[in-house]
Each structure stands twice: as C-alpha cells, then as structure tokens.
Symmetry: C2
Subunit: 510 residues, 2 copies
Amino acid sequence: MSRTHHPADSARMPLVEALLQYERRKPASFHVPGHKRGAAYRNDPQVASWLGAVGLYDATELPGLDDLHDPQGAIAEAERLAADAFGSKRTFFLVGGSTVGNLAMIGAVCRSGDYVLMQRNAHKSAIHALMLSQAGAVFLPPEQDRESGLYTSPSPELIDVQLSKFPGTKAVFITNPNYFGMSADLRKIAEVVHKHGKPLLVDEAHGAHFGLDPLLPESALQCGADAVVQSTHKMLPAMTMGAMLHVGSDRVDERILKRLLGMLQSSSPSYPIMASLDYARAAAAQNRGNEQGAGPFREGLDAAHYFRERLRCRAGRFRILERAPDAGYTSLDPLKIAVYDAEARLTGYQLLTMLHEQGCDAEMADERHALLIFGMNSTRSDAEHLLDALQRIGSMNLSEKQEIRLKMTNILPLWSAASTQPVFFDADGVRKPAHLEGDPVAVEIERAVGLLSAEMVVPYPPGIPLLFPGERISSETASALARYRSDGAAVQGISDKSLRSILVWAGNDI
Amino acid sequence: MSRTHHPADSARMPLVEALLQYERRKPASFHVPGHKRGAAYRNDPQVASWLGAVGLYDATELPGLDDLHDPQGAIAEAERLAADAFGSKRTFFLVGGSTVGNLAMIGAVCRSGDYVLMQRNAHKSAIHALMLSQAGAVFLPPEQDRESGLYTSPSPELIDVQLSKFPGTKAVFITNPNYFGMSADLRKIAEVVHKHGKPLLVDEAHGAHFGLDPLLPESALQCGADAVVQSTHKMLPAMTMGAMLHVGSDRVDERILKRLLGMLQSSSPSYPIMASLDYARAAAAQNRGNEQGAGPFREGLDAAHYFRERLRCRAGRFRILERAPDAGYTSLDPLKIAVYDAEARLTGYQLLTMLHEQGCDAEMADERHALLIFGMNSTRSDAEHLLDALQRIGSMNLSEKQEIRLKMTNILPLWSAASTQPVFFDADGVRKPAHLEGDPVAVEIERAVGLLSAEMVVPYPPGIPLLFPGERISSETASALARYRSDGAAVQGISDKSLRSILVWAGNDI
C-alpha cells in the first residue's frame, strides 16, 4: 500500500469500516470476549444502552479485523492515515494511554545505566519509564510564568548548556504543552537538541489537536520532534486510554518501539478504543482548518472565544489567565481556559467544587485557577452555561468566613541551579549510588549542601520534586527548604516534617 | 467499610451505580475526554449507536467516580465485592488485560537477578515480565496429553524435584487452565510449592469462571494459589482488556503489586472497562451456581452439553476432544469444545475457516482442532447453529485434493529433561551469561550437547520454545532437533534452517 494517500482518503476510517462490516455479518460467537457480542449486557436495563451497544463492536482478532501487534490490514491502514494526518514517519495506535507511550518512548532510547535530560516537571509515567528501564535522568529546571506561577519547559539556552555538559545523554525529554496549554518555543529546542545530534522526545499528551488548525499552536512533529506521544482522548475525540505514538525521524528506532509496545500493551487490545482513534483522526484531520476559517475546530474555538470575550466584557471578579508579553511561554492553547477569582475569595479548588454544583464539570484546579477545557464539540450554549454558573457563584454571599488568602508563597522559582549529575532509577525507585555505603543519616539542612539526598522532597504546590533521592543538594535547594520552613509550607516526602534536617546518604561525601 | 458483605450485597454494582448517577446529572463537560460525553460520536451515523452510547459513561476521575490508582470509594467497594466473590485477600481491577497482571505479579516477586520456576509453555507476557524485571527462569517441561498432543502444566513431582534443586527460586509460575480448558491438579501443585515455602503464581487467564458453579473446575484461589491473574473478559462478561489480579495470601506483597500496577497501567483508566468488571462479577457471582442446579452458568453449560450430546449421537466425522482416563490433565472446562475431523480431511485451520464462512466464529485452531468457546450467554439456538454449520461442512464434497495428512510428527514429547540452570533476561531479550565472551559460533548439533545455546529454537507446532538462548543443550534436546531435521519439521528462530548446526556462545564451555 502506498504511503501517500489521496486527499479523499482522509475521510476514510478503515478500522471503523472493518468493524461495521464485521457487525453486519451478525456472526454467532464461539470465542472471547465472554459477553458474546454484548448479549450479556442487553438483558440488564442498567447497562444495556451503553455496554450492550458497544459490546457488538468489542471484538477480537477475527478475520478482517487485523492485529494491533502485527498490523497488516485495517489497523495498518488506519495507522498510515494517522501518520499522514499528523505528519509522522510512522504512527502506533496505543490502547494504554500516553502512559504506555512514555514507557516505550523512553525505553527505546535508554538501556540500563543510560540517562536522558528530562524536565523536572515531567508526568510520573516518564519517571516510571526510567524505573522500568533502570535508567537515569539529569533533571532540568523548567521556566516559571510569573503571572500565574505555573511551570512550563526548560529554556533552549539551558538545554544547550546541559547538552554540552552531558554529551553522553541519550535524548532530551520535554513535556509540551503543560496541563494549562502553555507551549515553549519547541522549534528552538529541537534545533538545539539536533545541533548536539540527540533525539528530542516530546510528551504532547495535552496537545493531540496542535497543528490541525491555524488558530492552534504548532505540533511537536511540525517543530521537528523525533518521537511524540499524544493522548488522543484528551483533546481529540478518542475513547479514554486511546493515544498515539508518532515517530518523526530515524533518530528513534521504531523496531524497538514496536517490541516494547508488544511487551507493555495487552495482547487483547480493545477494538472500540482502537476504532475511536481511527474516528478521532478522521474527525480532526479531514477538511483540516485553513486560513479561510473552515475546519473541525471552528465551533469549539468560537465557543471558547465567545466565553472569553463575554467574561472580559462583564469585568466581574472572575478573570481568565491571559498570556503576558513577558510570559514564560510562547503560546497558550485557546481551548484551555484557566479561570480565577480576582478578589481571591475563592481558591481554584473551591471554584471547581462550586462549578460542579452548578452542573459544570471542570478539568482540574490548583490553588488559584480552575481549568476549563473546550473541545471540538463545545458550543456557545456550553459557554452560556458556564457564564451563568459563574454569575450565580459570583452573586452568592461569600463575605462571611469565605475570605481566604491564597498561599502563593509556595509558588517559588525553585531551581536556579541545574542538576550536576544524573539520578539513576530501578524498579523499586531511585538506585542508591554504588560507591555509597551504610544507611541514610539525618543532617541539618544548612550543613547538607554538597551532599547526596537520600529522600524525595516535594513541595505542594506545585507538586514537582525539588529533590530526588540521589541528587546533590545545592545551596539554592537548601535556601529554598529554609524558606519553606519559615513560610510553613507543605512539603511531602521529607521525613523531618519540621524541615530542619534531611536524610543524606553516608559515604565518602561526608 | 467491612470486609464481610451481606449476601444481598453481591447483587450490587457500586461502580456501575456511580456512573449511572454521574450520567443522570447530565453535566456540561469542560474536561477530558475530548469527545465530551460522546457528543463527538452522536453526529456520525457510523459510530453514534455504539461509541455515542458508551461515550456518556466514558468519564474521568470526577467527584464520586473514585480513582483506580488510589481507590477510596466506588472502585474500592467494587474491588472488595470482587474479592469476596472470588475468595481473595485483595483484588485489583486491571484495564490492561492479563498482560499487565502477569507483568506486575512476576515483577512483585522478582528483582533484577532473581529467578522463578516457570512452565515452558507460558504466555509471552510472562517472558516479557522476566525481561522487564531483568529476572530469570528455570523452565519446566509441561505434561503432554497423548490423545490431543496438547501441553498442560508440569507435574507436581517435577515441581517438587526442581524446587529442591533450586531453593533460591522466588516463586513457581503456572498457567492453568491451558487455552483448551485443560486443568492440572493445582491443589497438589500448591501443596508442593508451599511445602518448599514458596509462593504459587497462577496465570488463570482462561479460567475467570472457575469455581463459580459446581459443574466448573475449581479456581486457582480455591486450590491455594498465592496470586492469580484472570482475564475477566475471556470467560466472564467484561469488556476486552478487563481483568483482575487476586492476592491469595501474604506470600505476595500487595503494596509492591499496587506500585507496579500504578507504573504499568494508564493514569487515565477506562471507566466502561472498569464498570464491566463490576458488572461481570455481579452477573457471575450473585445467585452463584449450587448443587440444586441454579446459577448464572446453567444456560451456557446446558447449551454446551446439548451440542456435545447431539454431535456424539450423530456419530459423523466431526468429533469432540474428550478427556481420556489417562489424560495428561485432571479436568476439562465444559465450556471449551475442541472439534476435529475424525477422517483427518480437514485441518483445524480449514475447519475454522469453513465455520467462519457458515457464520460461526471459532476462537482458534491448531493443526487438528478448532476451538469453540461457549459462555454464560450461549443458548441451545447457538448450539443448533453450530450443528447445522458442521452438517453443511460435512456434506460438502471434499474428496478431491482436500485429502491431507495431519503433520502430527511435530507434536513430540520434547522435554524429557528439565533445565539445569536459570536463563536470565533483560529488556532486549535474553541476557548473555557474564562469563562468556566473544560472538556466537555455529557448532554441529550433535557436538553441541552440554553447551549454551545462543539462539531461540521454536518448533511449530506447538510454538513453545525448545531452547531459549542461554539454555544448556541437553542430549534430549539435540536428539529432538535431529528428529525435526529428518521429519522436515518447521522450526523457527534457529539460523541454520537445515537444522544441521546451532549457534552457541563461545567461552570457557567450548
């Protein structure tokens, strides 16, 4: 089959079609799954309408339905159409979410004892990948946006410096955009990484829709990333756990990726989830958005724009996080809207709860913001619903006992200094450096500068590890801990809750 | 919440109820997934009826919907009801199939450099678990059933001998039942394993229904297994990828299991799959089958029995594999029916294809048998459908050019000798023994006895590795290879397709 498809092909959904054809036969099932084409669900009024309906298509590797782990037919064709739509060399459908994508992507470049450069605020699956691969990371401090206190990616300059310092690194791992839709200058990062001859791996879990409309930021593949993981279920209409792993170049070996995915993913993958990936690609990429204003995202973008404008005009206490000219990021996803109470009487958490009570389910909250996500199928009526809810929340009497001070003190620029050596992991967590002996000992924080931490230290917010066990404690880290102590900040992981001492590994460093 | 539930509780489906309650609110979605409660699917006539229907329940970790990775509410309660129903100490819901269950179960007992005793015909996910854990296995030859040529489990006697020889093993890993529903004497195996103070891990992927009716074989938990993985989607009505990991005793650390599952499974698990696990437990375990003949499996068991009796009475060329008194197994799952052509004019593969053409989809085939799986929801009308299909296939004129000889020569008792040392794996495959240097060299098979193989040797059928790289070549193995050579059998993996030589690792053994 040719790699170059006719434009008309982009409307096709080969895997959806294969499942429809299978269902049309109405075969008698003498195979797994045990629900027998949904029959088990259709007698029960509680699940008939949904499990009974999808059960007809919850098939297995029957003739015509191909095999995810060795695709030759409908799945291979659906993956090729996705590769064309997203601009990859090869695309793998994932049924285990971006989690399995990150495990495979990092595993593909790291053998035991290897290390990568990784931003410190990576998703936990990236750390788990290091653990499973028995690999390490030099953690890079991200930039912080002053306006919101949110963290983005490390700067291209820092990446350049660290690549020079650590020429043995196997790759650079970046998360972009962040949960709030903030994107770094990924083109510049890709240039820097490629200048050093390394592959750029991007966790684009929150950006599966990027690059599909001129009003949306560029995608990681467009910026030159060598391998990219996307949660197709997050911002495109796939079922939950549906994701894709795109290979952008020969810098990442797709045969190793295939082998690892074959190890990590179910040998009985879900056909509805795979079909929803095929559907999501067709829905988002056919008649792709153009400068003339057409495209599948226009209704959702219009709804988000409408909401933003109306809230702005209202000039009430609820505001929207907007990108400042000196922001610590280069673009903001227009479909992600972080709302906050400019009078600081409601935390983000409280706002999320009150929105829920008003029938509007938000995505998440931090101390200050409630994050609302619009999608391809969001409408002006959704926006109205949200505006009404905020109106009602705003009009409630909140003066008594609701006055709160946001604990913004925890939001600090934590990492003025970058790591000086990789931290290595194994399946149990962080691997104890081989040259150190004996048990961890407690040392006053002020006297711990220069020593290797034996514990994980995670201030909340933002919940990003300040120290991994095995990391050297810099004077900046020690100062930050002293500041947390005087601020009474919440710090998890550290055994001395008074923040006076920290466990370090004894050995020739002390 | 109490661990002991009132019998009436077993009808409850806490997670299904939580999702129904969520849906009743009809909230506006400003969160992931991007299909916005299925709205994206409901405009497209091709997917509206199934993805659109289930999309309403394809939720995320919203208030009231709990969190699989740290369950406190509806998921915790659903898991507790499953633990009660299946008789475990603790049950974990899995959304990544038995695959992820095997990875976690083996990973929980093996650190890098540890090894287990494992039957040679284990599912590939068990080998992948060794690779990810950088662990090893002493492979145990399974018993072979003479009548069918099929392999079951190693004998309790052999397990006893090998446990004495390898007291350092971390566990014994058994697959029971096999794909065809044949079960070993698991009680005796559990006794032997516990006598040596080791945990028994059972891949019960094909036996999630065991123990739920007096007409079904006992379950691994009933036999005393310490940890058990079940594919709830295979023989019980869960959606594909829905599975459970049961902890039977303190011999396996459930905290480590929880941590590994948190690493290997998606951080956005599928709610429909989790809800289907809750449903499957309630459907199969409430009003559990009793001696008086009631129970949820009775209709399916009756359909299978009816089919078996009718085919027997007909006494035509299609026969059913039945358990002989001297069979290499102790019980056969009555819901698994292996049909074969007693005149040997059709292979199992051809039979499967012809059944498909007659509208009956079988589960799988080998050279001789086509395997048909009945379930809780199979009916006499399904049985009639199948009988008619076989009648039509039998009446077709197959005399010309259809005469074939089954290649039964490949089905040999391959492993008269058990392994003499563990084979160690890493993420790339088999780990080269540290004391060996240099590249693999080809040696005549007759002269290779006593040396370590550097390649994998897999005769088809049965597709079970005769040699893993790193295994010592016994005189029995060498004889088997010589026999394959004279029979012209299909052997994969070996580089010399003429089967005259084999690659061995050079080193102090040569």
